[in-house]
């Protein structure tokens, strides 16, 4: 099963529209904030990227992670709503393939979101600050880092969505997970590695060791989600 097929299945569900609108909204956050509170930010000593990200990233990350949750729920809702999942299960393919294709599609959408947000930050830098080429590379590093930190959320939300056939249950669990992430103290190193708390981190103002650990945690957590999905599918088949 391929990403293109998964894309096809989302036709007329508002999936793409939601991601475009959500991405634009998340991108609008720093721009609106700069427009309204220009005086608070312009003229500070820190690099432009640091100022903009520190001022806006929490909200932008929140919107991004909520979009991923809604997207994941929707991808499995189309399977469960009219029992199409049963037809998929009787296809001569591994059921894990369905999960990986959905992960692929959601990852593609996260790249899209990350790109829109990077563009918005770049616009703010150009419009309100004097920036250097070095800062552009920081911006690129930051959003590459962000993308990797989004991986556990993509895999995690899809894992949750694949287990429940009523869409509101994974949605509820997802909301609880995101809420937990917002409640975790940011100064605790281990708690900040909670899968759904990772996307709230920024690259700026961090030492290399911390960054490396965040990236490693993101990859390991994503792999664990994939393994968990495999076990769940096996278990479901065994218990069916």
């Amino acid at each position: 099963m391929s990403i293109a097929l998964e894309w096809k299945k989302t036709k007329r569900t508002g999936f793409f529209l939601t991601f475009v609108a959500g991405g634009l909204l998340a991108g609008a956050v720093p721009i609106l904030n700069m427009m309204v509170r220009e005086k608070c930010y312009v003229g500070r000593k820190e690099p432009a990227v640091d100022i903009i990200l520190n001022a806006n990233w929490q909200l932008m990350a929140m919107l991004t992670i909520l979009l991923l949750l809604v997207g994941a729920c929707m991808l499995y809702h189309t399977e469960y709503a009219d029992n199409a999942i049963q037809r998929m299960r009787t296809m001569p393919k591994r059921e894990c393939g369905l999960f990986y294709s959905k992960c692929g599609l959601l990852l593609f959408m996260s790249i899209f979101l990350v790109f829109l947000q990077a563009l918005a930050i770049y616009f703010c830098m150009v419009h309100w600050f004097a920036y250097t080429a070095e800062q552009i590379s920081v911006l690129i590093y930051n959003f590459s880092y962000t993308f990797i930190l989004l991986l556990p959320s993509v895999f995690g939300f899809l894992l949750i969505a694949s287990v429940c056939n009523n869409m509101w249950i994974p949605l509820g669990i997802g909301v609880v997970c995101i809420f937990t992430a917002t409640m975790l103290p940011t100064n605790n190193r281990w708690l900040s590695l909670f899968p759904f708390a990772l996307p709230f981190q920024t690259y700026v103002g961090k030492d290399w060791n911390t960054i490396r650990m965040d990236l490693l945690a993101a990859v390991v957590e994503s792999m664990l989600a994939c393994i968990a999905e495999g076990i769940i599918l096996k278990g479901r088949r065994a218990l069916a």
Partner: protein, 251 residues
Amino acid sequence: MNIIETKNLTKSYGNFTAVSGVNLHIPRGTVYGFLGPNGAGKSTTMKMFLGLTKPTEGTFSIDNKRYPEDRVEILKEVGSFIEAPAFYGNLSGEENLEIIRKILGLPKASVKEALELVGLTEHRKRLAKKYSLGMKQRLGLASALIGRPPILILDEPTNGLDPVGIHEIRTLIRSLPQKFNCTVFVSSHLLSEIELMADNIGILNHGHLIFEGTLPMLKRNASLQGFPTENLEETFLAMIDEDNRQRSGKR
């Protein structure tokens, strides 16, 4: 030569046994009618063949392949239609089949062919959720027939169709072994329907296989046991009734 065989196939849910020690023999290139009242275990048996549920005991082989080792290999050869039709409501009939086609790696023309086979060509652009019950049923059938699989497993395929539709689908199923050189395993709770389609019959009641053989054999058996044989529906009812009586006697 049998294409599907089961040995002592059993499925229990807690204390309840849905399918109990069933031994089926489905010859290649025939239509096998699987008959039984509602809740007899027909769908459960079919689900086991498709790997949708695991046998509690016993084994089965499909084209000499075994579950669970050869699950994917089995599914490559099987087109299926189980209980309520399964589809993506937000996609049109054609788009639904397009998805199945791509997964199975079939040529583009197969979608058109499947739509024509079930008479949905006219409605192919309409959203599946807006289909009538009969059209949903036809879409389900098309998704089973697409790519001409060598084995077809159809669970009550005429449910929800009007008399004309029932006749069309029956004729289609009857013609499939010659047309596509395939084996059809079809279930129903109406003997009159199976009579018109099937070469071989298996009758299931309360999870037990109470008869397996050809129609003439069924008639012969029935007359030997003193059941009415003029009307097959009555024969079936009498057999089920007798089986139920024996079962309650045992209890």
